[in-house]
Amino acid sequence: MKIEVTVNGEHQSYDVEPRMLLVHFLRDVVGLTGTHVGCETSLCGACSVMLNGDAVKSCTILAVQADGAEITTIEGLAQNGELHPIQEGFWECHGLQCGFCTPGMIIAAHQLLERNPKPSEADIRRGIEGNLCRCTGYQHIVDAVQYASKKMTT
C-alpha cells in the first residue's frame, strides 16, 4: 500500500505491506534508527514517537495507519544543531546510562511538558509510567524533566 507521511518535517511517500509496524517503517524504511524496540506488548515505551502531536507507541501502530500523518522522532527534536531543552536536561542531569530507553523517554517527557509545562515530581513520575528504564532508577530522568521544564518556562 502506498502511504504518505511527513517525518521530522520531510514529506515522503512509500509503498509498504499492511502488516508493517510503524516502528519498523521508521527504522528500516525511512532509516531513522533512533527509535528503539524494547518489547512486544506496548509496555516499555522505547518506541515512542510523536504522531500528529501525540506521543504514541510506534510498535503498536501499523505504518498504513499513519498515512497522512506528521511524525516526529528523536532525530527531529534538535533544531538547527541546538539540542532541545529536554535533550539538554537528560545530558546535564545524567538522565541516561545505556541510552536504549532514552529516545522514547525523551518523547514521553516532551508530551508531558507540552500538556503540563510545570509538572510536579509526582506528575513526572506518572507521566513517564509508560516508559521502562532498567539503568537509572528514574531519579535523574525526573531531574532532567524538571531541568527542561524550568528552562522552557522561563
Binding site: T33, L43, F100, R125, C133, I141
Partner: protein
C-alpha cells in the same frame, strides 16, 4: 585521591550527545548489503523428545534462504561453553553437552530447535509457522526439590540423576560455635528466580569476508574478547580471523556476560551462506532464553549468644540452575559462599550447596551475582535474630560489626576485606534518616492502625573482579594509551562498558594525568580487531581493574613525555611539572610545552633523548592483587496499607562507600539504578514456571519491572574509605545498590508487620501475601 581539575568533578557524560539525539548505533541499527534476517523456532515444551522435524514447507516459502536444524550443525558447531567446571572445585560436577540447536530432546521452553534465514524478518517469522516438529512430551521438572524427588524424570540421560554439582565452603569451627551457642536461630530463605531484562534485548549480526577468511560478529555483549575466543573454538576458526564488535550495548546486568547459541549459530550461517545475517531477540525470547538470576533456596542456622553475638552460620542450600550451564553458571553460588559473613566478625561458617538440573533456562550472573543472595541472607537473618532475641536490629549489627581498625580483615571464608568503616556509614545514614524521630512516628502511626516499617541493610560486597587465580576466565585487564602527533589521546581499554560511563570517567583520569583537554581524548572499547585482549565489563570491575590498567599505561606514557620534555627544555625529568596543561620546568611556566608539541617531537623522531624509542604509546596489563569490598548502610522506610497490603516506599536513604570517586554524578546514577533493581526483587519481580515447565511470567504483562512512580526521591551520601588494592583507591559501584537494597526493603516491610507477629516473608512482597499475613493474626 585529591580532587583535581576533572577527577572528582560532576562532569556530564561524553557518551550522551549521540544517545539523546538517536545517533547511537546498537546492534539492530547495523545495516549491511544483502542482509538476511534470522528467526528461531523454540521449544514450546519444557521437556520432550523430538521424533522428527519437517522443514520442507518453510524451505519452500518465497524469501526463505536457509533453514538450519540441529542435525545440520551438530558436527560443525561445538557446544556452548561453561568456564567453571573444575571437578576439584565442584565435586561430582556433570557437564552436559549444550548444543546450539537441540537434537533428539528439548530440555526447556525456549530452547532453540531450528533457525531460518530469510530476506525479511517478517518472512522468517512466517516460515517458523510452517515447520512441523514431532514432539513426544515428557514430564518436566520445575524446581530443585522436584529434580531430587524419587522417580523424577532424568533431564540428561548420560547420568542417572539430576544432581548437577555440589560446592561447599567452611571456615573456623562451626560445630564448636553451635555447641557454645545460647540459641540457634533458623530460617528457610528463598531467593526467587529473576530475569535481568536490559532494555535492549540481545542481538547478533554476522558477516563473513571470504577473501580474508574473516568473520565479523557484532553482538550485544559485555565480553567481546572472551566471546571471540569461544566463538573461534566453537566454529573451528582461527581466533585472529574472528572479529567481535560490541557496538552500543543497551544494558547488560550480567546477562550479556555470556556466550549464547545464537552468537555461534549466526557466525556459522554467515560463513556458510556467505551472506550477512541478523538476529534480534524479541522480548519473549529474552525471557525464555537469556540467562536468569538467583534461584537458590536454603536453610540458614545462626548460632547466637543471648546478647546478640553471632558465633557461627550454617547454610544448606539447593540451587536450581536450569537445564544446561551457560558461561559461569556453577561459579555464581560460590560468590554467595565467600560473602556469607557479611560485615560481621563471626568466623565459623559452613555452606553446602547442591545444584539441580531442571527444565528451565540456565541461571548465571545477574547484577550482584551471588552477593545479593549472601547479603539478603545475612541481613535478613540479623533481623530474625533481633526478632527472636527481642533486640534492636541495630544493636545486633553494631555488636557484630568488624571494627574499622581490623582491616585488612580476613573473614571466616578466607577472603581479605581491603578496607572499611562500617560504623561510619551506619551513623551517617542514621543521622540522615533522623532515626529516633522515625521510630517515634512509627509508634504513633501504629496506634492509628497504620503500619510504618524501617529496614536496614549494612552490607559489604565483593567486587573489582578480581585476581585471576579466583576467576574462572582471567581477572586481569589491559589498556593501551597512545598520543597522536597532534596531541590527541586515544585509549584502548579491554573493558566493554554498556552504560557505566567509562568513556567519561576514563577520560577524566587521562585529562588530569596527562594534562590534556578532556575533549581531546577518545576511549575505544569493544572491538577485538582494535583493542588488545581484555576480559570485559562485569562484577563492578571496569574502573577498579580496567581503569587501573589504563592509569598504569598512562603512567608509562607520562614518564616518556616527561623525559622528552626534560630533554627539550634542557632540564631534569624530576624538575618537570604539569601546569595549565603544559609540561614545564618547575618555576618557569612560560617555557612549557603542550602534550601535542611533545607528541610531535616523539613522532618526528629527531629531537629525542638518546636511547628513547620514537612514537608515544604504551600498554599495560594489570593483575589485581585482591578484590575490592565496597560497603554501606541502606535504610528503607515503607508503609504497608492495612486494607490492601500494598507497600509504599516513603524514604530511601543510602550511604555507600565505594572508595574514591572519580565522577559523583555517575556514581549516583549507578546507585540509583542498583537500588531500583534491588527493590524490583524485593517487591515485584519473579520468574515463575508452572508445574509443566511453562514460564508464565514471560512478558512485561506479567513480569513487573519497577516504574518511576514506584520510588520516592532517593537520599544518597557517601563515606570514602579508599581501597589499597589499586592506586586510585576506587572500589566499584555497579552492583552495590542492588546488593544493598533488597534486604533493606524486606526488613522494612517485615518491621512494618511486626505488630502482626511476622518474622519472615519470602520475596517478592506482593500485596496479597502481606494482606494474608495481616488477616492471619
Amino acid at each position: 585521591m585529591p580532587i583535581s581539575k576533572s577527577v572528582g568533578a560532576r562532569i556530564k557524560r561524553r557518551e550522551d550527545p549521540r544517545m539523546i539525539q538517536g545517533l547511537a548505533h546498537y546492534v539492530d541499527d547495523i545495516q549491511l548489503p544483502n542482509l538476511l534476517h534470522v528467526a528461531i523456532l523454540r521449544s514450546p515444551y519444557a521437556h520432550a523428545r523430538i521424533n522428527g522435524i519437517n522443514t520442507d514447507a518453510a524451505q519452500n516459502l518465497s524469501g526463505v534462504k536457509s533453514v538450519v536444524t540441529g542435525d545440520d550443525v551438530k558436527d560443525v558447531i561445538g557446544g556452548i561453553p561453561c568456564a567453571a567446571t573444575d571437578p576439584e572445585g565442584f565435586p561430582g560436577i556433570k557437564v552436559p553437552h549444550h548444543p546450539v540447536l537441540a537434537t533428539g530432546k528439548v530440555r526447556f521452553v525456549g530452547e532453540p530447535i531450528v533457525a531460518v534465514a530469510a530476506t525479511d524478518a517478517y518472512i522468517a517469522q512466517d516460515a517458523l509457522d510452517l515447520i512441523e516438529v514431532d514432539y513426544e512430551p515428557l514430564d518436566a521438572i520445575n524446581s530443585a526439590d522436584a529434580a531430587f524427588a524419587d522417580g523424577a524424570p532424568i533431564i540428561h540421560e548420560d547420568w542417572d540423576d539430576n544432581m548437577a554439582f555440589t560446592w561447599s565452603i567452611a571456615g573456623g569451627d562451626v560445630d564448636a560455635a553451635f555447641a557454645e551457642a545460647d540459641q540457634v536461630v533458623s530460617q528457610r530463605i528463598d531467593h526467587q528466580r529473576l530475569v535481568p531484562n536490559p532494555m535492549e534485548t540481545r542481538g547478533v549480526v554476522a558477516q563473513y569476508l571470504p577473501g580474508k577468511d574473516q568473520l565479523n560478529l557484532w553482538s550485544s555483549t559485555q565480553i567481546p574478547h572472551l566471546l571471540r575466543t569461544q566463538i573461534s573454538v566453537m566454529l573451528g576458526m582461527a581466533e585472529n580471523h574472528v572479529r567481535v564488535i560490541a557496538p552500543e550495548v543497551g544494558g547488560g546486568f550480567g546477562c550479556k556476560l555470556n556466550v549464547y547459541a545464537e552468537e555461534a549459530l549466526l557466525g556459522h550461517m554467515a560463513k556458510y551462506l556467505v551472506q550477512p545475517v541478523k538476529w534480534i531477540e524479541g522480548r519473549r525470547e529474552n525471557f525464555l532464553h537469556t540467562i536468569h538470576g538467583r534461584d537458590q533456596t536454603g536453610d540458614v542456622e545462626l548460632a547466637v549468644k543471648n546478647d546478640g553475638t553471632i558465633l557461627g552460620l550454617k547454610y544448606t542450600v539447593s540451587a536450581d540452575v536450569g537445564a544446561y550451564y551457560q558461561l559461569l553458571t556453577p561459579a555464581i553460588p560460590t560468590l554467595t559462599g565467600l560473602m556469607l559473613c557479611g560485615s560481621y566478625t563471626f568466623k565459623n561458617v559452613q555452606m553446602n550447596l547442591t545444584a539441580a538440573f531442571t527444565n528451565k533456562m540456565a541461571t548465571d550472573a545477574y547484577r550482584g551475582a551471588g552477593r545479593p543472595e549472601a547479603t539478603y541472607l545475612i541481613e535478613r537473618m540479623i533481623d530474625v535474630v533481633a526478632h527472636d532475641l527481642d533486640l534492636d536490629p541495630l544493636e545486633v549489627r553494631r555488636k557484630n560489626f568488624i571494627g574499622k581498625d581490623a582491616f585488612p580483615y580476613e573473614t571466616g571464608t578466607a577472603v581479605a576485606y581491603d578496607s572499611g568503616d562500617y560504623t561510619a556509614a551506619l551513623d551517617k545514614a542514621l543521622k540522615m534518616a533522623d532515626y529516633e524521630a522515625l521510630r517515634e512516628q512509627q509508634a504513633k502511626l501504629r496506634e492509628e492502625g497504620r503500619y510504618l516499617g524501617i529496614g536496614f541493610s549494612t552490607y559489604v560486597e565483593i567486587c573489582g573482579m578480581g585476581p585471576s587465580a579466583a576467576m574462572p576466565a582471567g581477572g586481569w585487564e589491559s589498556s593501551t594509551v597512545r598520543v597522536d602527533p597532534t596531541g590527541k589521546v586515544t585509549v584502548l581499554t579491554g573493558v566493554s562498558p554498556h552504560g557505566q560511563g567509562q568513556e567519561t570517567t576514563f577520560a577524566q583520569l587521562i585529562a588530569d594525568g596527562l594534562g590534556v583537554d578532556i575533549d581531546d581524548i577518545r576511549i575505544i572499547h569493544g572491538d577485538t580487531d582494535t583493542v588488545q585482549y581484555g576480559i570485559g565489563t562485569f562484577g563492578s570491575r571496569a574502573t577498579a581493574v580496567g581503569g587501573t590498567a589504563m592509569v598504569h599505561a598512562m603512567g608509562k606514557v607520562k614518564d616518556k613525555v616527561i623525559n622528552i620534555a626534560a630533554h627539550l627544555l634542557e632540564s631534569n625529568p624530576q624538575d618537570i611539572v604539569v601546569e595549565d596543561n603544559k609540561y614545564c620546568v618547575q618555576g618557569a611556566p612560560e617555557s612549557g610545552l603542550t602534550l601535542g608539541e611533545i607528541a610531535m617531537v616523539a613522532h618526528v623522531g629527531v629531537q629525542l633523548p638518546e636511547g628513547t624509542e620514537p612514537g608515544l604509546a604504551e600498554s599495560h596489563f594489570f593483575e589485581p592483587p585482591n578484590f575490592t569490598y565496597p560497603f554501606g548502610t541502606h535504610i528503607a522506610v515503607v508503609e504497608v496499607d492495612a486494607d490492601t497490603g500494598e507497600v509504599e516506599i516513603q524514604r530511601y536513604i543510602a550511604v555507600d562507600d565505594c572508595g574514591n570517586i572519580i565522577n559523583p554524578l555517575i556514581v549516583e546514577g549507578q546507585v540509583h539504578g542498583g537500588i531500583a533493581q534491588g527493590v524490583g526483587q524485593a517487591l515485584y519481580e519473579e520468574a515463575i514456571y508452572d508445574e509443566s515447565g511453562q514460564m508464565i511470567t514471560g512478558s512485561f504483562m506479567d513480569y513487573a519491572l519497577p516504574k518511576a512512580h514506584n520510588f520516592p526521591r532517593f537520599e544518597l551520601a557517601n563515606t570514602v574509605t579508599p581501597s589499597p588494592v589499586n592506586p586510585m583507591g576506587v572500589k566499584g559501584v555497579g552492583e552495590a545498590g542492588t546488593i544493598g537494597s533488597t534486604p533493606a526493603i524486606a526488613n522494612a516491610v517485615i518491621d512494618a508487620l511486626k505488630p502482626f507477629g511476622v518474622r519472615h516473608i519470602d520475596l517478592p512482597l506482593r500485596p496479597e501475601k502481606l494482606w494474608k499475613l495481616m488477616q492471619e493474626t
